[in-house]
């Protein structure tokens, strides 16, 4: 359903839809042994790290509640905060541009780069620019975009796609990465080994000259403070600082939901984000800037605000909380479906549990009907989400929309999704049982065994009754 005729993200540009639906993509992915091993190792490591550093924080639950409420406040008065942000950025010497969708945002950025006369840009990792397909749009205009985040560089050099929000090359191991570097990186020593330190050094040398000579940078944004016009980028490697500091022109691109009301609100998010995403107490580098600072950093600053389906998401009271997401990727790392399929199967730049609820809302569920079913509703994502997005209930809500719109697609699109993903017999049996029991199941407050862990603290979301029973009867 498109709420009140609100436009969703247009097709044919950017990366919110896959070439195939989730079930068929997932089927291939789970057969890739190497991919599953890489994913298994990586997600287990990062889960353990996150658990350790979160445990250390005595007021984690209070921070989470505050984080969720601050984001809800933003969504409740988004028009006010965006206008405030615009006024503050302009007052500090920046320029603000608005774009209804991916095509408009790409056109704005392309025009801004062209105005500088430069034919290349350095980029710091940004989900937003991947969502809108900016690199492709720039390439069409003859502008080369160099990804500078190590993982993004690996993916770009290999002509591959990112598969994880935070660790885009999580699906590749060190040997595969060494092979990509040997093959694609100019000037790399022929005897480059697969030692991560040596690989990082190769990337440093490869990008150094680009950083020192680049005239234009494009960045994403983690947080934008309406009260002061201050922008924030959180990173690890220093490539972000290079992009944000050295070029003459900086173009930052953000979805309209990234704004925060006040500078003080950052005291919450700068605690929630690093521990949830990399499991560090704090990431190595966080940069803040407000417009233009004479003699320090880019003297020409542009902020591009884009919608691309966010207002359509905002219009659904049961779906809008997906816009709270701060892209920490904690929900990916705990998801049993993601762990088996990896990110590519989701077809969108946003994979995992958040992708299953965000992508279909940005595009309209008609265009991503299988994603709301790419889940066992196990609830692990809600438990770790630093802004407490109730992804399981949202999935059920979106499933109902899929069924309402096109009942015939249900079996093909839906049920097979999770079946292919879940190779573990025990989990799959559990998932089936959950679906079969349907609504009565939802009344239980506590389940026996492993699944009981999370039902103790909340009610289970209720799957739509009719559709699942139909499916069960037919099968």
């Amino acid at each position: 359903m498109t709420f009140l005729g609100m436009p969703t993200a247009p097709a044919g540009v950017g990366q919110l839809r896959g070439d195939r639906d989730f079930p068929s993509a997932a089927k291939d992915a789970v057969q890739d042994e190497q991919l599953r091993r890489n994913l298994g190792n990586a997600t287990a490591t990062i889960r353990a790290k996150r658990a350790r550093t979160v445990q250390e924080v005595p007021d984690w639950e209070e921070l989470r509640q505050a984080g969720a409420a601050i984001k809800d406040e933003v969504l409740a008065h988004l028009d006010t905060y965006l206008q405030q942000l615009e006024a503050q950025v302009v007052a500090a010497g920046g320029t603000v541009h608005w774009a209804r969708d991916a095509n408009e945002a790409n056109a704005v950025v392309t025009r801004l780069v062209q105005a500088t006369g430069s034919t290349e840009v350095v980029k710091v990792k940004s989900m937003a620019t991947q969502e809108i397909g900016l690199n492709e749009a720039l390439a069409d205009a003859g502008i080369a975009a160099y990804e500078t985040d190590l993982a993004e560089l690996i993916v770009q050099l290999d002509h591959d796609k990112p598969s994880h929000i935070l660790v885009p090359a999580i699906h590749k191991n060190r040997t595969e990465i060494r092979d990509v570097f040997r093959r694609e990186m100019k000037g790399v020593p022929a005897d480059l080994t697969d030692d991560p330190a040596e690989l990082a050094e190769a990337a440093r040398n490869f990008l150094r000259q680009k950083f020192l000579t680049a005239r234009v940078a494009v960045s994403g944004i983690n947080f934008a403070v309406a009260e002061t016009g201050t922008l924030c980028v959180v990173e690890s490697e220093g490539n972000g600082r290079m992009c944000l500091t050295l070029p003459e022109t900086l173009i930052s691109v953000m979805g309209i939901e990234k704004v925060l009301p006040t500078w003080q609100d950052l005291e919450v998010f700068l605690q929630l984000l690093p521990r949830s995403s990399t499991g560090e107490r704090m990431n190595p580098y966080t940069s803040f800037w407000t417009g233009v600072t004479p003699g320090d950093g880019p003297q020409d600053f542009h902020l591009v605000l884009f919608d691309n389906g966010r207002t359509a998401t905002l219009a659904d009271p049961q779906g809008r909380a997906a816009l709270r997401c701060i892209r920490c990727s904690a929900c990916l790392n705990v998801c049993p479906v993601y762990e088996r399929t990896g990110g590519h199967a989701y077809g969108s730049v946003y994979p995992g549990p958040i992708g299953a609820v965000l992508s279909p809302q940005l595009t309209g569920v008609k265009e991503n009907p299988s994603l709301p079913f790419a889940s066992t509703l196990c609830g692990a994502c809600l438990d770790v989400c630093p802004v407490a997005i109730d992804i399981p209930s949202m999935l059920v809500h979106l499933r109902e929309q899929v069924v309402q719109q096109d009942p015939h697609r249900l079996e093909a699109a839906a049920m097979t999704a999770v079946a292919y993903a879940m190779s573990s017999q025990r989990r799959w049996t559990w998932a089936l049982r959950a679906l079969r029991i349907g609504r009565p199941f939802a009344r239980l407050k506590r389940l026996p065994g492993k699944a009981g862990g999370w039902t103790a603290s909340r009610d289970l979301p209720t799957p739509p009754q009719q559709s699942f029973r139909d499916w069960w009867a037919e099968r």
Binding site: E73, A76, W98, L212, E237, L246, Q271, R281, M282, Y285
Partner: protein, 200 residues
């Protein structure tokens, strides 16, 4: 209608406006006092090196740490620099900075719980490029500048100044999640913690 008007209009049509109470039950800015031991512990956890020194020991220590070609921004106390040869930021071009080995700065404040050092371009800190391009950063933190928590830091900082929050040296975990220190930012971070009380 402009894109701006259109988007603002869509937001109003989404009918999301309601009143939201933000519960701030977490530890606020007034909560805790900082522990220097915790700060040292957390910084070392990032593989940065911490040197405790009394004020009198600072010049000799800096003399030992500042290797190679050195740049020092305006505002670093002159009495710390006795005997050191260094460039000032005249300003230096990017190419000139690329030939500098070490940068020596002060900081705006530091956060114990997260082992973070904050630069805000204040006296002795220079512009952002200065602490980015040289491979080695030596930063002096006075004990009185260490706050306990992130909220305490946010409350003391001025958002209109450009800021860099530094928690250990540049690092990546992009290859099999194995941490590698030193990618694009300074590969070595030395923290001089001046423990002498009643500093100017």
């Amino acid at each position: 209608m402009s894109a701006r008007e259109d988007i603002l209009d869509r937001i109003r049509h989404a009918k999301a406006d309601r009143s939201v109470e933000v519960p701030r039950g977490y530890r606020r800015a007034d909560a805790a006092t900082a522990s220097l031991g915790l700060f040292v512990d957390r910084v070392e956890d990032y593989c940065a090196v911490v040197h405790r020194a009394s004020l009198a020991e600072v010049p000799a220590l800096l003399g030992r740490l500042a290797d190679g070609r050195l740049v020092v921004p305006e505002g670093v106390p002159a009495e710390w620099l006795g005997g050191l040869t260094f460039d000032s930021d005249a300003p230096l071009s990017t190419e000139q900075l690329d030939r500098v080995d070490t940068v020596l700065t002060t900081c705006a404040l530091a956060i114990a719980e997260t082992g973070t050092i904050v630069l805000d371009a204040g006296p002795g800190q220079g512009r952002r490029a200065l602490t980015l391009i040289p491979d080695h950063h030596v930063v002096v933190v006075r004990a009185s500048q260490v706050v306990a928590t992130v909220p305490q830091a946010v409350a003391r900082l001025d958002p209109r100044r450009p800021q860099t929050w530094i928690s250990g040296p540049s690092a990546t975990s992009d290859i099999e999640l194995q941490r590698v220190e030193g990618v694009h930012g300074p590969r070595r971070l030395d923290v001089v913690l001046v423990t002498e009380p009643n500093l100017p």
